[in-house]
Amino acid sequence: MGEEQYDEEQSTEVQKKFLFVFKRAPHGTIYPYEGLEVILIMAAYDQVISAVFTDDGVYCLKKGQETAAIGVKEFSITFKVLEQYGVEHLYVDKEALSARGMTEADLVTGVEVVDKETIANVIREQDVVLPF
């Protein structure tokens, strides 16, 4: 990650709630990689940032990814540092995770594994939702 320079804290008068929805698997498309890039930049702007992982997006957090043989960057480790970047919540859909044979122990970082009703309520509160 980190092709752009991560700026110092930006000050704006408005504070909004931004939600990043990770729905796609890593490596098959560039979407989740680029979603993470946006979060890292946005973190400098004093906004309220959360992320939801559902559908194949839960695979983004899977432990043990080694991408050398397909020649692309391994970026799951970057999800670990999101808390330091001020991302308030990382929600993972419980059913999406279990349908894929995984539990929280399979994930690279601590998250909140929640039911669909919780995610529905999180979505409802947002000002901006960005799908990746």
Binding site: E4, Y31, E37, V38, I41, Q47
Partner: protein, 119 residues
Amino acid sequence: MKFGILIMDGPYQHQASDSAYHFANAAVAKGHEIAGIFFYNDGVNNTTSLMTPPQDDRHISKRWSDFVQKNGIDAIVCIAAAKRRGITDANLIKGARISGLGQLTELGIKADRLVTFGD
């Protein structure tokens, strides 16, 4: 109302760019303001001035160029995505500018709605 538009896929391959274009036109026709259009991922391919589609097909990059110039809309092309795909100031459509992801955040803050189009 102020709309922001985010386009994440390229021209011709998927309908995303077409949908965004028709949505943006309808928004302007209804008297809304478009605070900015951000081209990200393959979306940056919408902004090459080099395309020469068949005469009986739509010219997607020209259409975007005309639209943003006519309506004074800020059209921002993600620099990292553009570099990966060969979009530079030398082949960028008129009316667009290349900049960083900070601009996407600012658009999200500034606009009342940020609408994403992609595949």
